[in-house]
């Protein structure tokens, strides 16, 4: 009976119990991760092979996506061009040619616009950047679409100049203006800007700056931010139209070979921005179907349409990546993206007749006139292989992921070993120092110039040559920057004050590098992939554990040479033969001149156009390079209790003979040691 009662009570208790979901298997690490860690030593080689093979497959035009027009309203086939003012273009060309030196082109354009009954204004601008002073005068006019309400507009840009090509382009554009003003179908106004780029070699950069000054005022950036621009001083815009939907820069940089016209198209903007692929496609289709012209991108024709040269299918994608990475101002259009305008440069064939040029411009303008919504349908992140094929971000990100994977695997390996994570304060200090270099250098370039002196009289303690309180001779900004930037501060700091927790430093270095590279990839794939190709092996090898002192000294010495600027100078000197010159002004045989040119270009573009190369160099390149010394100099196991302790038997599994924590027994507390 008692048993029965006990049994009943037990049953009742069981009934009172609730069911709760519990985890099965505890918190054991998935086995697959341990298997991946086994490949850590050969991860770099596997990654390189994998990235190469995947890139070869992805960047072969056969495997790429075929370009298509996503926005149906852009279909250029719907437009029948009717431009017929060739005579006007020829007359205007004569007027430009006969222009006396006492009269500027700006005045002539203003007169022509007034004769046509259109609004036209001049726009004077001046660079406030002390390191690169320049000034100029743009001219801009409007073709108002009579049946629209002026809420939207498209932009056409032409560079002023006295060369034959410039005169031809300007006269043809003005003939188009004469034609377009009489058309009633404009759903958008047209803003025509003649930018003043001067006559020198750097005219493209100056013209881009001139366009930047115009857009700064047109988009009312100063009114929006309630503060004046620190780089440019310019006249206010006297008349305006609506939101800019797209912009096209025209020149006659295209050519004709044996009667075959070649149109040269440039698409790269600042910081890896690219024009919406629909605009590129539309113009390519117009060139092909309406004018039977070939399209050259990055100065290269489609290899199948080029009967004069046989070259690798990878040459255009490689040039695309290289140009995107390092050529910030590819053309005047490059600054359009900074102001939210989808723009590119169309280099029309210089053998085009006046009529053909006018009709080409008409077709492109009417194509942009038809856009129903702002350009968003197609791709912004792509790599072109030719005028028909491209690879999108979804595809080209694969080789980068493979290349970065050794760093992530190494970081994970370190994480499995580490027992206590200590954030290295010196990591923060190096970033602050890098940021200080960035701020100080750009400040001096912006306000003082390329040479500066130290002064006592007033804050800030830098000034121009001959200022009150000068107590040092004048120094070159570029050389000073190079000295500070290229002296490896890491060895001194880490010898003086060794890092207590090297595995933590390794993890931070590896993860930061991976994140920075991946972050850059989302905006500028060319820069990311090229940096990855150089940076990943350096970071991987320098953060690898070492028990050998000689090896540590050797690799630290190599690291000291592999300063980011040194690597860039090496690339700049050695690659031009293949891709074209990186910095046109540098002398090819001087390493120092290359370094100076790189630094000057990076600083100038940062200050003038907000190109982020210099920022990345100072705020990430410099700190990571210095912090790597903490990992590369380290050899043997770290003192016990202060650094990583193997949490499990993974060290046994990976068969790492070089690690030697067990062998050297200099403080590494392994699981094996614990057992002992």
């Amino acid at each position: 009976m008692e048993n029965l009662l006990k049994f009943t009570n037990k049953k009742l208790k069981l009934l009172e119990m609730a069911l709760e979901i519990s985890k099965d298997g505890g918190t054991t690490r998935p086995k697959i991760l341990d298997k991946i860690l086994k490949f850590r030593k050969v991860a770099l080689i596997i990654a390189y092979i994998g990235a190469y093979l995947s890139a070869q497959w992805l960047f072969d035009p056969v495997n790429m996506e075929v370009t298509r027009i996503s926005e149906h309203s852009l279909m250029p086939g719907l437009v029948t061009p009717k431009f017929d003012k060739s005579g006007i273009a020829i007359q205007l060309y004569r007027r430009f040619s006969d222009l006396p030196k006492s009269k500027s082109q700006q005045e002539l354009i203003h007169t022509i616009f007034s004769d046509l009954g259109l609004e036209c204004f001049t726009h004077k601008w001046r660079s406030k950047v002390a390191g690169n002073p320049m000034n100029g005068e743009n001219v801009y006019g409007f073709i108002r679409g009579p049946r629209n309400d002026g809420a939207e507009a498209q932009m056409i840009v032409v560079q002023l100049g006295r060369s034959e090509k410039s005169r031809r382009m300007m006269s043809r554009m003005l003939a188009f203006v004469d034609y377009a003003k009489d058309q009633v179908y404009w759903a958008r106004d047209i803003v025509i800007v003649f930018v003043d780029g001067g006559e020198k070699n750097d005219s493209i950069e100056k013209a881009a700056f001139a366009l930047d000054a115009f857009l700064l005022k047109y988009q009312k950036i100063e009114a929006l931010n309630s503060k004046k621009s620190i780089t440019v001083e310019a006249d206010e815009i006297q008349a305006q139209t609506g939101a800019l939907i797209g912009g096209v820069v025209y020149d006659l940089s295209g050519m004709a070979v044996k009667g075959q016209h070649i149109v040269n198209i440039q698409t790269n903007g600042l910081n890896g921005q690219q024009v919406n692929l629909d605009v590129f496609n539309g113009i390519t289709k117009i060139a092909d179907s309406k004018h039977h012209s070939r399209v050259a991108i990055f100065g290269t024709l489609h290899r199948h349409s080029n009967p004069y040269m046989e070259y690798s299918p990878f040459i255009v994608p490689m040039r695309a990546l290289y140009t995107q990475a390092f050529i910030s101002i590819e053309g005047i259009h490059s600054v359009l993206g900074k102001y939210g305008v989808q723009g590119l440069t169309v280099g029309l064939s210089h053998d085009y007749s006046e009529k053909q040029t006018g009709q080409f411009i008409e077709e492109v303008s009417r194509m942009l006139n038809n856009v129903l919504e702002r350009l968003h349908q197609s791709y912004f992140m792509y790599v072109l292989a030719d005028d028909l094929h491209f690879s999108s971000i979804a595809m080209y990100i694969i080789p980068l992921t493979i290349l970065v994977s050794p760093l992530v695997i190494s970081a994970y390996f370190e994480w499995t070993k580490i027992q206590e994570f200590q954030f290295p304060v010196v990591h923060l200090a190096f970033h602050v120092l890098g940021f200080f270099y960035y701020i100080a250098t750009t400040y001096v370039f912006q306000t003082i110039g390329t040479t500066f002196v130290l002064q006592w009289m007033q804050w800030p303690f830098v000034g121009i040559d001959g200022c009150d309180g000068q107590f040092t001779p004048s120094w070159s900004l570029i050389n000073s920057f190079l000295i500070f930037f290229m002296i490896p501060l890491g060895p001194y700091v880490f010898l003086k004050e060794p890092v207590r927790c090297v595995p933590s430093m390794r993890i931070v270095c590896l993860l930061e590098t991976s994140l920075v590279l991946y972050g850059i990839c989302l905006t500028n794939f060319g820069l990311a992939i090229l940096c990855t190709a150089f940076v990943v092996p350096i970071v991987f090898l320098m953060t690898y554990e070492s028990s050998d002192r000689t090896r540590s000294i050797f690799r630290s010495s190599v690291l000291a040479i592999l300063n980011p600027i040194s690597v860039l100078a090496f690339v700049a000197i050695n690659i031009p033969g293949m891709f074209g010159q990186l910095f046109p002004t540098i002398s090819q045989d001087s390493w120092l001149a290359a370094a100076q040119s790189i630094a000057l270009t990076a600083i100038r573009e940062d200050v003038e156009f907000k190109v982020n190369h210099f920022f990345l160099l100072c705020c990430f390149g410099y700190p990571i390079w210095n912090m790597l010394f903490a990992c590369s100099m380290r050899y043997g196991p770290e003192p016990q209790g202060s650094l990583g302790i193997f949490g499990n038997g993974s060290d046994d599994d990976d068969g790492d003979d070089d690690d030697g924590p067990q062998k050297t027994n200099r403080g590494h507390s392994t699981k094996k040691n614990k057992r002992e």
């Binding site: 996503s70 809420a151 939207e152 009312k220 609506g242 939101a243 800019l244 919504e373 971000i393």
Partner: protein, 531 residues
């Protein structure tokens, strides 16, 4: 003759009930340049009647309009529709009432409460959609503008005013057809020249309907004006000394409007002289011998100087932007009233709104801000000031763009949304008129699903959120545990349920966070008052 007799009989019958109706039509042709011709059609109907003795007969006045006036107690109504941009410099003073691009409605109601007027406006807009074949249901309506917006809607304070603009509305032949149906003579007289394909193939087109009703006790007077204004470019498409009506309208005037009290065609000459042709007096006009008129190709020498206004926008980001309204006075001092409607999808930065003027600096400004009360109501900014001759002023309005709810975006969300044109009412010692600036297009932040990268991110996130718990719970096992005190859990669950219920309620009732915040603030204020 038979028709005339029947009209006469009707008139006699009508006069017995105290009813009198008149219809006038007028066409004005004025070259504004050697290549452009301005054409103004004006059709005016008038009806006097006694409320008590009215028999419900309508001769020339459209019955539907009278019903609108009576049903919604409308004192005055102005509806305009325009397409294109009025060139203030080249063409001078715009046709009055001035029309911004798109549609505009101004109504004055007799009502006891503001709410009644709001409701009547809502129904009136829907009724207008039917009468004029428009689609202006989502018009941004403003409650009672204080300063004058349109010339014909003056400072009368005893009525409830409602004003709205819809910049994106397009006008087409359908609207013209419906306007034509309101006329007493639809097939005869000047209305035969309302040839849609010619009128809409122009550089500027605007049409308006102005209705007014005034009653003195039971005796009422209703007026209606239907107007169409067009600027055509080189209508003849050939070089000649004169343009004919056939060149301009591709039609000739082949008949008279018998019921019209007056029917006139004015041609403005070089020096502003007016040549009038009274169509009623033409005896020969019929289908076989149509009337023809020649307009001299000329540029008007006496262009009237007008105040100029234009709007522009700054900022290209998806976060914020700035709207600037520029106003330049003409050669004499003027008092101006500036009204700017700001729709709900942008939020103003009130502290940053400012005026900048040249010459004598910023004059004394009276301003009125009317904040939006409901979720989708716009904000109204109104300013009144006196400008000296030739003075230019600039109103800068910074704003933040809003990320809207999914259902608030139009189908072509990436096209952007309009901020209506500013209305500028000008008062001079000799004349008053209204002009409008241009509308601006604001590109709002839109989640863009056309980019594969975005799709990957969204799909991966959704997949992780959905698949994660499924995978987790399908790999767990159930273990029995002894039931313990579950009060804490119950409270926790109750709180969670309450939050979910509140969220659902807020969603269903379209309550936004600001309203909740305001509600909490009001609640706390009440608590403080209790202390």
């Amino acid at each position: 003759m038979r028709i005339l007799t029947s009209y006469l009989l009707l008139s006699i019958l009508s006069s017995c009930h105290g009813l009198s109706e008149n219809f006038d039509e007028k066409l004005t042709l004025s070259p504004v340049s050697k290549n452009e011709l301005r054409v103004d059609f004006r059709f005016n109907s008038e009806r006097e009647f006694n409320r008590k003795t009215e028999s419900g007969d309508y001769l020339t006045f459209p019955r539907i309009i009278q019903e609108l006036l009576s049903r919604y107690s409308v004192r005055k109504l102005t509806v305009t529709m325009a397409h294109g941009r009025w060139n203030l410099i080249g063409w001078g003073l715009p046709p009055q009432p001035s029309s911004p691009t798109g549609a505009q409605v101004f109504a004055e109601f007799e009502a006891d409460q503001q709410e009644d007027a709001d409701e009547r406006m809502k129904f009136l807009v829907e009724a207008l959609n039917g009468v004029l074949c428009t689609s202006i249901s989502h018009i941004n309506v403003i409650t009672s503008p204080e300063f004058i917006v349109l010339k014909n809607h003056g400072g009368e304070t005893s009525v409830h005013k409602r004003y709205g603009v819809l910049s994106g509305e397009t006008t087409c032949t359908e609207n013209l057809t419906r306007l034509r149906k309101l006329l007493a003579c639809k097939e005869n007289g000047i209305s035969t020249l309302l040839h849609p394909s010619k009128l809409y193939n122009s550089v500027y087109h605007s049409s308006h309907l102005v209705v007014e009703q005034q009653c003195d006790k039971d005796q009422c007077n209703s007026k209606m004006e239907v107007g169409v204004s067009v600027v055509m470019r080189n209508p003849s498409q050939k070089t000649q000394r004169h343009w004919s009506l056939a060149d301009v309208f591709e039609r000739k005037l082949g008949s008279q409007c018998k019921v019209a009290r007056s029917s006139k065609i004015h041609v403005i000459g070089t020096t502003g002289e007016i040549t009038t042709t009274d169509v009623k007096n033409l005896t020969t006009i019929n289908g076989e011998e149509p009337f023809e008129l020649y307009i001299p190709i000329t540029d008007i020498s006496m262009k009237q100087s007008v105040v100029k206004a234009w709007s522009s926008q700054g900022g290209f980001e998806q976060k914020h932007g700035v709207l600037t309204v520029h106003i330049t006075n003409d050669e004499s001092a003027s008092e101006i009233h500036v009204s700017q409607i700001i729709p709900y999808y942008v939020h103003l930065r009130y502290s940053k709104i400012n005026w900048k003027c040249d010459k004598n600096g910023v004059p004394r400004i009276e301003k009125i801000f009317k904040n939006s009360k409901s979720l989708e109501a716009p904000t109204l900014l109104q300013y009144k000031m006196k400008l000296s001759a030739g003075q230019t002023c600039e109103l800068t309005i910074p704003f933040d763009k809003q990320l809207l709810r999914l259902e608030q975006y139009p189908p072509d969300a990436n096209h952007g949304m309009h901020i209506p044109a500013a209305s500028v009412y000008i008062q001079k010692s000799t004349s008053t008129y209204t002009i409008h600036s241009n509308a601006i297009l604001v590109l709002l932040p839109v989640p863009d699903f056309s980019m594969p990268f975005n799709v990957i991110c969204f799909v991966a996130t959704a997949f992780a959120l959905v698949f994660g718990p499924i995978q987790l719970y399908s790999t767990l096992w159930l273990a029995p545990v002894v039931k313990k005190s579950q009060w804490g859990r119950k409270i926790h669950r109750a709180i969670l349920l309450a939050i979910i219920a509140f969220c659902l309620y807020a969603h269903m009732m379209d309550i936004n966070l600001n309203e909740i915040r305001r509600g909490i603030e009001t609640y706390f204020e009440k608590l403080n008052e209790l202390k």
